[in-house]
């Protein structure tokens, strides 16, 4: 499981997750993801397009960080561009209704600035 990030500007951070976000993978990146996602930036886009598997542990990490970011007055959104497997998992658990989910990076970032 790999994690990288890019600060687009003073307001937006992109976080890229890559690989299998199963129980083991989620444990592997949990602390680093939380530190990056609960950011001083106003908005965070988590790119899941290269995630091959998303478990409940991975979803838990997304929810926790989204809630933390919201509590600080910020927002977190998800980009699942081209990843049907992850999109279906988010839909099956209703998470796509709690954390705004997009198929396009630009659309995701525009949503953060609203």
């Amino acid at each position: 499981m790999a994690i990288q990030y890019e600060d687009v500007n003073d307001d937006i951070r992109r976080i890229f997750l890559r690989g299998r976000l199963d129980t083991a993978g989620s444990e592997q990146i949990a602390a680093e993801f939380a530190a990056l996602a609960e950011s001083a930036k106003r908005g965070v886009v988590v790119n899941l397009s290269d995630v091959t598997f998303l478990s409940s542990m991975g979803i838990r990490a997304l929810i926790a960080s989204a809630k933390a970011q919201q509590a600080k007055g910020g927002r977190m959104v998800l980009n699942v561009a081209g990843n049907d497997v992850v999109a279906r998992t988010l839909e099956a658990t209703g998470i796509d209704e709690l954390i705004p989910t997009f198929e396009d990076e630009d659309e995701a970032e525009r949503a953060l600035l609203k």
Binding site: D22, E27, M57
Partner: protein
């Protein structure tokens, strides 16, 4: 235990830890592909397996972690109706997923209300077509079933 008309069930024994859970996932994909299970069904089973093992590791207690977890996998086909069964047997505290999650959990109305606890059970129920549980000789036996149709 599940068995196809032509093959005995595939078996694997793992430790109760997250890295062996990943080994189990690799095994599942391998044996399922070998029996021509469609990729979409393998994904469903993979989710159920990861969540079932995560429950064993997180909630099964010391006996679950100290004892092997046994997996069996088999496929049955009959006139275009196909069923794949994945059985997970562990020595943890007694736990029946169907009993503790009889109805789909109501979805939270907002992010602030979201409680991630129990998501694993939600996912097992969402991704499977049937769940059967029994307790025998100090072990939990959970059988996860997915079904699909193929051109006969």
């Amino acid at each position: 235990m599940p068995s196809s008309a032509t093959q005995p069930p595939a078996e694997l024994t793992i430790r109760g830890d997250t890295w062996d859970a990943r080994r189990a996932s690799v095994w599942l994909a391998s044996v399922a592909l070998a029996q021509n299970v469609p990729r979409e069904q393998i994904v469903r089973l993979d989710h159920c397996l990861d969540e079932a093992l995560a429950n064993v590791i997180a909630h099964g207690g010391p006996t679950a972690l100290a004892s092997p977890v046994r997996l069996q996998f088999g496929v049955r086909r009959s006139e275009g109706m196909c069923t794949a069964e994945l059985a997970v047997a562990d020595a943890g505290v007694a736990f029946d997923p169907s009993r503790y999650s009889p109805e789909p959990a109501p979805r939270p109305a907002s992010l602030a209300e979201a409680k991630p606890e129990g998501l694993g059970l939600v996912m097992i129920r969402n991704f499977s077509d049937d769940l059967r549980y029994r307790r025998s000789e100090g072990r939990n036996h959970l059988t996860i079933t997915v079904s699909w149709t193929e051109a006969a």
